[in-house]
Subunit: 558 residues, 2 copies
């Protein structure tokens, strides 16, 4: 390809927030239309097609059949699974001119279940594995970070159906390996971590995480054992305060409305205090969360535990109205539109300090099990922090930012049941097939590759994703003729080469070559020609080679 | 591929309205989610990918660069070209949770202009040809007819930018040839006809039409010369009544409120009457259309002429309110919110009969040029009917139903100007590039192929679109082993073969082979094996061949 045709790098990149966005915009790979909406320019679409092909290849190898579902789906389909209401406001709904409900699908369990319904007739049809690579939409309120959190995005989403959980788990492991292979081919070191199944429903869920400062996820990894989990589900080793229960006692604590102030005033370790945090969910329920004083609440865990799609901090007014004294609240009571949720550590501990639900008064020797009503929920809602002990081996946990590049779920039989998919198994028993689902976001994957493969000059694409393998530059008119000949030869033999035929300065050509990050840069100049040589530089290692002009064909093995 | 994996034909096909929908649903190629929303099942997606590849190949050959734009686009982008308002109600608009305007793009001129804007720096960057194959959405009120008129659909849409109209026209002709090649490879006989540029704006426009009873378009083709046009723009040879103007005269015409009744009452040829038809458009304007009495109004022409996005018949109340007497109306006057539009033939004719705008009274010797106000519009709004004389050669025009499988437009500089794309040409003059756009709907193309390639048993795919080239059937256990060997050999050598490994009856296998329409059916049975032969039947010609088992490799040239 001629650079004059496809190479449209720019000197500026507008307002960009992340390294990958800066480099992809500057390099002319993508163009932003508005927050969360981008388009792939021809140069970027080459990379997109390469990752598309890798994914397609690895998944067809393990038996996935490609299909294609629509992004716009009838609302009725989503009402069948209850997700028309329960998905939360990331699900974009609209009415068409006839007043019918539609959604822009952010995931495709519903229509895939319809395929399973007409496809599966007997247990002999199982397993069935379907895959598509297709655009999706999420009504993202915070589409920052370039291509990591998009509104419209391309997703590979695979779905498999099985006769039992054992067969599902077997296939799930096979997909996990294929995913690791895909990420490896894309040059990424992806770590498999435990995760929450969230809006998908179902049981087992894992994510593929690539460490990066640009990541919006945080993962805890044990420095000693193999434990690794998203903070949404990660758990430290509990430290329970086990003592003989004492009688509760009120104590004046003027102005000690924060954990810090209270610990200082009582000269107690914050771990002995029951912290209360208030949220409101989309159903307008007050969620009262209690963790020990030196812990923080993980909102995603709390959302899951409280069956909320979204949580926002509760306004003081709301807290008071529901009978709690802000700063001095007691995690007790509840009732209509109030959910009190204890973290395990709080629930199991004795003689904690908590509020007395009166201004400037706390309560000593609070024993949650003894004092709190039956309506309390007990769940894992505390957040792991760097240095916490591992729940598996007590080793030290490290918390790091990461980008989620893929996820896999064991959905169980939720969708099979919602769509009444029933088949007779080999024993003549009617069963609902068990389902797994598997997803990779293409744009996010590309963003992650750039975040982790760059230097101050530009992108360093992994070999399989580079838009072109070779970037060919000539210096001087004499060299131009030779370069044209080399270009023609390479093109004819099917090599992937970008020939910089532009009339730009050598400096600009070198800068663009580094910016767009093809694997190898070839320079043909009067200087190299005078020695009968060509200079070839590896973008990744920076290693220079001088290859004899006459043995070039051997070098490229044409 | 094993038929047990991918072949999911059904005995029924639910409610289907057209031949292609019946065959595609029954054959397990597609599944309907709701009116206008379908998904491609694995078997159907194979066909989809084949047409995708043909289009991609032919367009890359002529220099199109592939890119990828989003379906969801910011409303602001569409406000820049005025199409946020002017496109009509097929443009689906919605607000996201932040209250921002978005559209589901039904065509991609806006975002493509943005690419041109950052890509084009000098005349040396021209021509620029961009192409994508991507999903689109139209809020179709009448999504009947299976895959022909979908809500969400896949479209190849190419855009090219040029230094002048001459260069645009040159490239336009090249694209036209490439399109004809695409349709030829897809097994279609496509006819190029003149068309209207409609919502795209611009000048020259042509469509690729395939004759079919399932078509929603009608085309006029001259039986004598090469004239061919969509009825939206087709014109007969005018028959003007040229006489010396006489004085108007009122005449009582009791109850003669229709053309038929009036012609009978006055004993006049309907061609001497000026027919008036009333419509209301989306701006609530009354559109008063006048054609000669033996003509019909073509609504698409009238919409174009009256600058309306949509027209509906005007209610009688509205007609009266605006000062016209229904059945006895006079095409005159107008004013605020009324547009009077004369077809050329009416405008140029003399001494016609029209209404007097009084009940049961007509007017003789109506001379439009003499009597009608300056506010009248004159346009081509009459519809060609079968047998009308050709405007080019006076030969007979034939009107037929057809499916539009593609269209090409010369847009001119509308979008270049809207987006202020300005480059310096070789003479140092600032110009806005001239644009062409080119589109093929993939689902509609597949539907058209099935409509035109079938028999009572099923689909007969053109060779390049068949999901598999060979459909391999064995009859009897003995033959199964041999068939498995043949299957393995064919697979290994890269042949596209579907092996019917199912335990269905021979009759069902034959029926499915015919239904899904692979190019050749191979039968290995004990009977053929006893003669050391294999039976190969061509789906299209029905021709049977008996090939010696030992020379099979030669036959397949493995």
């Amino acid at each position: 390809m001629l650079a004059s045709k496809i190479l449209k790098t720019s000197k500026t990149q507008g307002k960009t927030s992340t390294i990958h966005e800066k480099l992809l915009v500057k390099g002319g790979f993508v163009q932003k239309l508005s927050a969360g909406i981008y388009q792939f320019l021809p140069l970027g679409f080459l990379v997109y097609k390469k990752i598309y092909k890798i994914i397609e290849e690895e998944l067809e190898k393990i038996g996935f059949l490609p299909f294609l579902g629509p992004m716009v789906q009838p609302g009725d389909l989503w009402k069948k699974t209850g997700r028309f209401k329960s998905f939360g406001s990331e699900l974009l709904k609209f009415k068409n001119r006839a007043g019918e409900d539609y959604v822009l699908a952010p995931t495709h369990e519903e229509n895939t279940a319809l395929i399973a319904k007409i496809t599966l007739r007997s247990f002999r049809d199982l397993p069935l594995a379907l895959n598509q690579i297709q655009p999706k939409f999420r009504d993202e309120p915070r589409s920052r970070g370039g291509l990591i959190r998009l509104k419209e995005f391309t997703m590979q989403d695979g779905y498999s159906f099985h006769r039992d959980l054992k067969d599902l788990d077997l296939f799930y492991q096979i997909v996990k390996s294929a995913y690791l292979k895909i990420f490896e081919r894309a040059g990424l070191e992806a770590k498999v971590v435990q995760s929450s199944s969230g809006a998908m429903g179902g049981n087992k869920a894992e994510e593929f995480m690539v460490k990066s400062e640009a990541g919006e996820d945080r993962i805890a990894t044990c420095l000693k054992c193999d434990y690794a989990a998203n903070l949404e589900v990660a758990r430290f080793k509990d430290r329970i305060i086990k003592e003989k229960e004492k009688n509760t006692e009120e104590i004046k604590t003027p102005n000690a409305s924060t954990i810090e102030a209270l610990a200082k005033f009582l000269k107690l370790d914050a771990h002995r205090l029951a912290k209360i945090v208030f949220f409101v969910n989309e159903k307008d329920e007050l969620i009262v969360a209690s963790v020990l004083g030196d812990r923080e609440v993980n909102e995603r865990k709390l959302a899951q535990a409280s069956n909320s799609a979204e949580l926002i901090p509760a306004p003081e007014e709301k807290i008071k109205k529901m009978g709690f004294e802000p700063g001095f609240a007691k995690p007790q009571g509840g009732g209509k539109n109030v959910k009190v949720i204890f973290d395990h550590e709080v629930w199991e501990s004795n003689n904690l300090v908590t509020g007395a639900n009166k201004k400037d008064v706390h309560l000593l020797n609070f024993n949650p099990k003894r004092e709190s009503g039956l309506k309390s929920l007990i769940a894992d809602i505390a957040e792991v922090k760097d240095g916490d002990p591992c729940s598996q081996c007590s080793g030290k946990l490290k918390v790091e930012k990461a980008i989620e590049v893929g996820n896999i779920f064991q959905l169980g039989d939720k969708y099979s049941k919602d769509f009444k998919i029933s088949i007779t198994n080999e024993k003549g028993k009617k069963i609902s097939p068990f389902e797994g689902c598997y997803g990779i976001g293409l744009e996010r994957l590309i963003a992650t590759v750039v975040e982790t493969h760059n230097d101050e000059k530009g992108i360093i694409w992994p070999r399989e994703l580079a838009p072109y393998e070779y970037y060919l530059i000539y210096l001087g008119e004499e060299a131009k003729k030779e370069a044209e000949k080399v270009y023609e030869k390479l093109e004819k033999s099917g090599k992937s080469v970008l020939f910089d035929d532009r009339e730009n300065s050598p400096g600009e050509k070198f800068a663009d070559a580094d910016l767009i990050g093809c694997s190898k840069r070839i320079i043909i100049s009067e200087k190299t020609l005078s020695k009968n040589q060509v200079e070839i530089k590896d973008r990744s290692s920076g290693k220079l080679e001088l290859v004899d002009f006459r043995s070039l064909e051997d070098y490229f093995s044409l």
